[in-house]
Amino acid sequence: MGGPKMSAVEMRSIEEIEKSGQWWWWAEQKRSKRLDYLRKAVWKKGAKGSGYQPGVKVDLERPILYTQAFQANEHDPLIIRHAKALAHVWDNITIFIQDHAQIMGYLGSRPHTIVWHPEILFLLNEDLYNDRTVIPEPEERSLRIIREICDYWNPQTAGTKMFSKLPPEEIVKLMTGAIGWGLPIHRIGYCTKQWDYMFRLGFEGIIAEIDAKMAEAEERIYRRVPEPEDYEYYKKLDIWKAMKITLEAAVRWARRYSRLARIIAENFETDPQRKQELERIAETCWKVPARPPEHLWESLQFDHFVQILTRYEACDGAWPARPDYWHGPFYDKDVNQDKVLTKEEALDLTGEFLIRCYEVGWFWLMLARDTLQGITGTWVWTLGGVNEDGTDACNDMTDCLLEAARLVRVANPTFAFRYHPQVRMQTLRNVFECIRQGLGYPSMRNDPILIANAMHWHRHPLKEARRWVHQACMSPCPDTKWGCQPFRMANATIIAAKAMEYALFDGFDQVLQMQFGPHTGDASKFESFEELYQAWYTQIKWMMDTLTKVTGAGRYNSSELDPRPFLSAIYERCVDLGVDSAHPSERGNSWITFFAWMETGDSLAAVKKLVFDERKYTMAQLIEALRNNWEGYEEMRMDFVRAPKWGNDDDYVDQIHVRCHNDVAAHSWEIKDPTGNPWPPLPENIAAYVTNATKVWALPNGRRLGDTLYDGGCSPGAGLDKKGPTAVLRSVAKIDHIGAVRATLLNQRLNPTQLAGEKGFQIWHSYIKTWADLGIDHVQFNMVDNETLKAAQKEPEKYPELIVRIAGYSAHFIDLNKKTQDTIIARNVQSLGS
């Protein structure tokens, strides 16, 4: 009777597991032993609620090393001090090679650690001191070190300097968290990378370009009497020097991995196969990122190194990438042409590439931890789409990535698929298979619409618009020299439902008890719907102005106050011009994220119907009921809940939503970012529809303070779409997805039983064709039934890899707090084709 017992799952056949829809067990059986080991060995770095997972600790090596070097070079210009500090970290931080790993590079000195950047923001530093979960043992010693680092950095963090310079009223209002989200800081952004530049030259090639630039500058300012315009070169020289310091240090850091792999291979490894792997790792890390990649394992390693390096420099909150487009040619060469890699090996390597991304984490402000709970950042990778000439860009690497995602089931990165009418069918089936297996991704993006959108708002030429990637969850940005937006500050994010609250209370914030918005009059005396609408429009314009003013000032001042030498060094534009990445010289790609947006139209429609059309209630009664958070007014509240709602193809309410969209789009053109471009709206929510529940007062759509907000950007409220999926699409299609929004997010839940097998694919495909024909830019699906979700709430240990789509990102269901879990369960399950 000896020997290990088999679990009930292990005794079932793959077919039985497939039939049960328990895809996480299926994945475990299907993936290689190596991949299974790596998947299970990975530490989750995302927060649950706003707390980190047990065992995850903050890494103190990076802040100690960075601070040492920054202190030691205090007479250097700021950008050079930052460059030398980074170089000191990369030269000295502990590195390690995990068993079975083939892709190197880790953010932190140990697998369970998250990195802390004390130079970013005093609040982040104090936040860490207060955190009860991530302080490494012995706690007293760690707290002492943290205190010392805080004391050094707090008076001079990027945030301290920036906040002192920004418009005072606006920055105080932003920081209360009532009207916006995010921070106007260069080191907290979403950075689109320019891969054609890096892959073409490698870091040594970029250094050669910088050397040539510096030689020319020295010629102009040292060896002759400078022309007036030449004096700029003094500043540029410092920037180029700093770029070069970081690029050289990055190459040294990668080569430390090379040496470590060589040492292990030559002295310790006894398994001949692993020895061979380590030798290849040694060769690869010696070569990239110094020189251009030539094989798939080199291009993936190059890519991963760059992502880790940028995150040593700062908190890059998004991971804009188009991996099939950039790695596809290497896959084709190695697997299809030269046959130096088998399909299985490429799949395995790609699976590891996803896991390496998933394990990246840093200590992050509470405002980001709770609104992105379950993950570290919105790492949405772009797949599919078209080439610059308009032909289908799907390739075998696209399929490989989709297949690998099903095997490793990580919640970060997720994929977004650029759908277009010529997309190859085998890839589309692969996309569907990921959705059917409950990953919640890829989200579907309507490529022709978004290409037109990029041309409309930011005048990207057609060829470059076709190169777009997701800069964060949703916004398309070309990854080209002049199209690449080097970073986007998240604080151009408004909590739009507050504009409705302010319109009803004369700009007074009911939650904070403070006058926030402009005075727009006593709403209890409004005599027409138009008066209310105009009050709302004034408030929303004020919110857009307020936050973009702060963001613009942040962007403009960042080059001086908060330069980023490494990020600057990997942009061709910055190297050419000798400017920091914050310098607004790209074509531009700004947007304002609208959290909690769709409550507005539903609230306005309810007031129009019940107060001004039917005259069942007066404005005074409504304001009184709202002031009391609907308490004592339940019957009246239910009337407002039952008023027409978005998502049912009802023109009464839909046209109010359309008017709101068009009016904010019109105002977008009246405000400009530092590149001279407009600020288009982009409604979506991440998990902010939960976190903002206690910040938005009661509203006329029947919502009470504390009730969760609508979960999408154009999704109906949970349970309020009563007429099926086609009615939802018809409502959503009334919005102009090119001219009225930068993008907008639609969440849908589908029935997994209905979508089984070939018939399921056909039903879904037909839905997607309708969605695309209607010109809607986005849709994403949850395809997990409530029975499974409720079972996972009860016994989380049995559902470790069950994934759900939140709003713009996916997360493992068990990594969400109960409040957020319940909101997923509450969404309507749609039956297609009915």
Binding site: A47, K48, G49, S50, G51, F122, L123, L124, N125, E126, D127, Y129, N130, D131, R132, T133, R147, C150, N154, P155, T160, F163, S164, L166, P168, E169, I171, V172, M175, T176, G177, W181, L183, L365, M366, L367, D370, Q373, V511, L512, Q513, M514, V690, T691, N692, A693, T694, K695, N817, K818, K819
Partner: protein, 100 residues
């Protein structure tokens, strides 16, 4: 008015730099129900919701001394579990505050 906002901003920035780790008084703003925590961090920054005529609400910290405040009203319930409570009005993530 813009001077007032500038003062608030400086109070907030300098407070965040200096006050975050000072000891928690017996009667502290963070233990009062009028305290409105700012959402950016667990650094203890917030403001007081009590409106004083012709004045902007004060920026305060969880450990600001409230012993002289006539409006002080101790909160009944304090939750500190960061894995569950997100911006619940009773949520106080600061290290110095205990669950109640």
């Amino acid at each position: 008015m813009s001077d007032d906002w500038a003062k608030l901003r400086d109070q907030f920035v300098m407070g965040g730099v200096q006050k975050g780790r000072q000891a928690m008084p017996e009667k502290a703003c963070g233990k009062c129900e009028h305290f409105r925590q700012h959402s950016a961090s667990a650094a203890g920054d917030g403001h007081c919701a009590v409106i004083v005529e012709n004045e902007l609400n004060k920026v305060v910290f969880d450990n600001t001394d409230a012993s002289q405040c006539s409006q002080y009203k101790e909160i009944d319930r304090i939750r500190t579990d960061t894995s569950e409570f997100m911006w619940d009005p009773t949520f106080r993530p600061q290290r110095q505050i205990e669950e109640k």
